[in-house]
Symmetry: C2
Subunit: 163 residues, 2 copies
Amino acid sequence: MSGTPRAAGGSADSADASSLPRAAGRPTAFDTDLVRRRMLIAGIAAPLAAALPGCATLDGDTPMYGLIGKMRAAPGQRDALVAILLESVHGMPGCLSYVVAADPTDADGIWITEVWNSADSHKASLSLPAVRDAITRAKPLIAGFDQHIETLPLGGHGLTRAG
Amino acid sequence: MSGTPRAAGGSADSADASSLPRAAGRPTAFDTDLVRRRMLIAGIAAPLAAALPGCATLDGDTPMYGLIGKMRAAPGQRDALVAILLESVHGMPGCLSYVVAADPTDADGIWITEVWNSADSHKASLSLPAVRDAITRAKPLIAGFDQHIETLPLGGHGLTRAG
């Protein structure tokens, strides 16, 4: 019963985390945390699938992988950054959902929500030429990251295979 | 450059806010905040659409409407709550995306991300018989809400009309 908002599920440092896949990230404490969270995801996926036998959205034994992130654009650069983000959202193999949204209460805030058919598909997207090119152009427009939350998507509407 | 997570974009009190539409909500300060945020959404939608002329996902002059929320299930009730949430995600008019996810670091945590073709479509979903029935059955399984963030979705992959 909390009336006070709290950031739950993860945190991000602007230098190390991104809802945009990083083109050339060095191993960091954040990467270690990602590995730990992915192990957690794998660990809870099987019992959840057993509890939801009608859930057809878990792809066999491979759990889906979700990200919810808030990015801060450099002042005045949100529109340009959003345009770049929207360029490369289609055609990423294993991407089931990728939504870019503005924060109506923060002139620089952008929310990105992602669903992938696996953590590996998300990781592989880092190497796509279109994504790498988008990251290169987007980086100078990004001031930082306020939230970076990994989730275990279980199902829903609007999960569409792109490739 | 914040390494500290912060809840941005909105807050929720467990009695007044829900990623599940409320079946019979009384007017609250939270409702007033929603109205204010919707006015903000409407206010920034036009300039954003102008800045993104290639963005086909804004439905004419009506801005899309997004929600990102974290719900806490009563202890041990997450699987049952998720099953109810997943029952009614299909066939809601104007719903473009509705994803239910577990939080791998919080045994009771559920993330729900939603995209609607308008705030009105989201509001209208409150009256759908299947949604009202789901709310009735879900309420006893919900311990509270940790985050409730409204967004202005601008585009992406996986935005699919349900009705």
